[in-house]
């Protein structure tokens, strides 16, 4: 599969193409982090993070690639790693003693929302994830999930979001997360 085909598939939301890309450039990207004082795990995390960014840009149609894919992803990795190194530098030894962890409440809320999302049907989950994360248009969502038209996709998204909101509100009330 050449680069153009790979990129086209990714733009169409083909996750297997993303896996191919991941494997293809794993060494190159992780070596950059490792050679810049990163561990293998950090390198892997940075590369995965970069690929997710690349994915979002590509599937949402917001990316016009003017260089090789590897060049583009490499620069994302560099930026992410630079940010991470800056973050580490900013941490003084006092800060390191008391790192900023999310509060217990925040964690609980995030966990609850995650539970609610996982409780939803597959189609609802996909509609919401494609819309809010992948940034797909209603037409793309309709095509991907086999809806009759964009209006059907829009209605489905509205209903799924309503359902999720209710689920979350119910659980939040139970946990006294709502004032």
């Amino acid at each position: 599969m050449n680069e153009k085909d790979l990129f086209d598939k990714i733009c169409k939301g083909d996750e297997r193409a993303l896996e191919v890309l991941y494997k293809k450039y794993y060494r190159m990207m992780t070596q950059m982090v490792i050679k810049n004082s990163g561990s293998e795990q950090e390198a892997k995390d940075i590369y995965q993070e970069a690929l997710v960014v690349f994915w979002q840009k590509s599937v949402s149609g917001n990316l016009v690639l003017t260089s090789k894919i590897s060049t583009y992803i490499y620069s994302i990795c560099q930026n992410l790693w630079r940010k991470e190194l800056d973050r580490k530098k900013r941490l003084s030894s006092e800060e390191r003693d008391s790192p900023e962890f999310p509060t217990h409440d925040q964690e609980e809320r995030a966990k609850l929302i995650n539970e609610c999302i996982n409780q939803m049907g597959d189609t609802c989950r996909k509609v919401l994830m494609y819309y809010y994360f992948d940034g797909l248009s209603m037409q793309d969502i309709a095509d991907k999930l086999g809806f009759a038209n964009t209006n059907t996709a829009k209605t489905k998204k509205y209903k799924c979001k309503q359902k999720l909101d209710e689920l979350v509100k119910t659980l939040y009330s139970e946990k006294d997360f709502l004032d």
């Binding site: 996750e15 896996e19 991941y22 004082s37 795990q41 995030a110 994360f133 992948d134």
Partner: protein, 286 residues
Amino acid sequence: MKNSELINAYFDGELSEIEKESFIKNLDQDPILKQEFNLQSQIIEGIKSTRKAELIARLDAVSIGTSGTTQHLNWGKMSVIGGVVLLGILTYYNLQNTQTETTQVAPKEVSESIDSLIPSESVLSEVDVNKYENESVSADDQKVSKPAVKAQEKVAIQKPDINKPELVEPLEIESDEESELIPESGFADESPIKLSNIDIEVDNSKKRYSFHYQIKEGKLFLFGDFDKGLYEILEFNSSEGKILYLYYKQSYYDLKQSASEITALKEISEPALINKLENVRKDIKN
């Protein structure tokens, strides 16, 4: 427009610039609107996080071939290493001058002597020995071309006890045994010395745990200031599961699979085991 509709329109990018500005102003003035807005923010962030986690999990599941701070061997090297280890074992066995009891299968005796070097869970040598021993047993049926196996065959000839039917039973060696020993790519799960591809995370943020570890959900957490690139994880496969050792700053540490709580790293002090692990590491590096 109801609050919820307004908030959804905001997140869906359906508000004009003027409407957006007005909405943001209202947020500070209307606590109910702000509460609902915060809730919606959290929900949408939750959707995004779930999707991101899904994509990352998908990438995590992709087999790369080389991962972790451990090294990856090809099977050509593996077979040589296996042969060297086997010769070492048999030489040791000979030097120890153990009894050749007709009631006992020779490989077990060999592995028992090895077990004194390596903790009992490890069947590294046992599997190796058994495989190679069995090759010699069924040499008539199979062509063995590996030098290590040939060397072992010579040794086996000296030990007629090796030719015990019990040898064959525990091992399900197929007719195409060579390909089983030397898979085309990567590591087969049945490798005795399988270099660990366990996920490793180093956490130096907990002052309380400066030299500890934890194995949780198949992932190894190292707590402390571990210098990058200076530690290795050796993984041995046995019939009772994986056995992991950490090599760090010229010392070896036991990593118990049962350490689901944060556990202090304990240095291995048994000289014979250290020697064995050193040899394995050197072979790997070569």
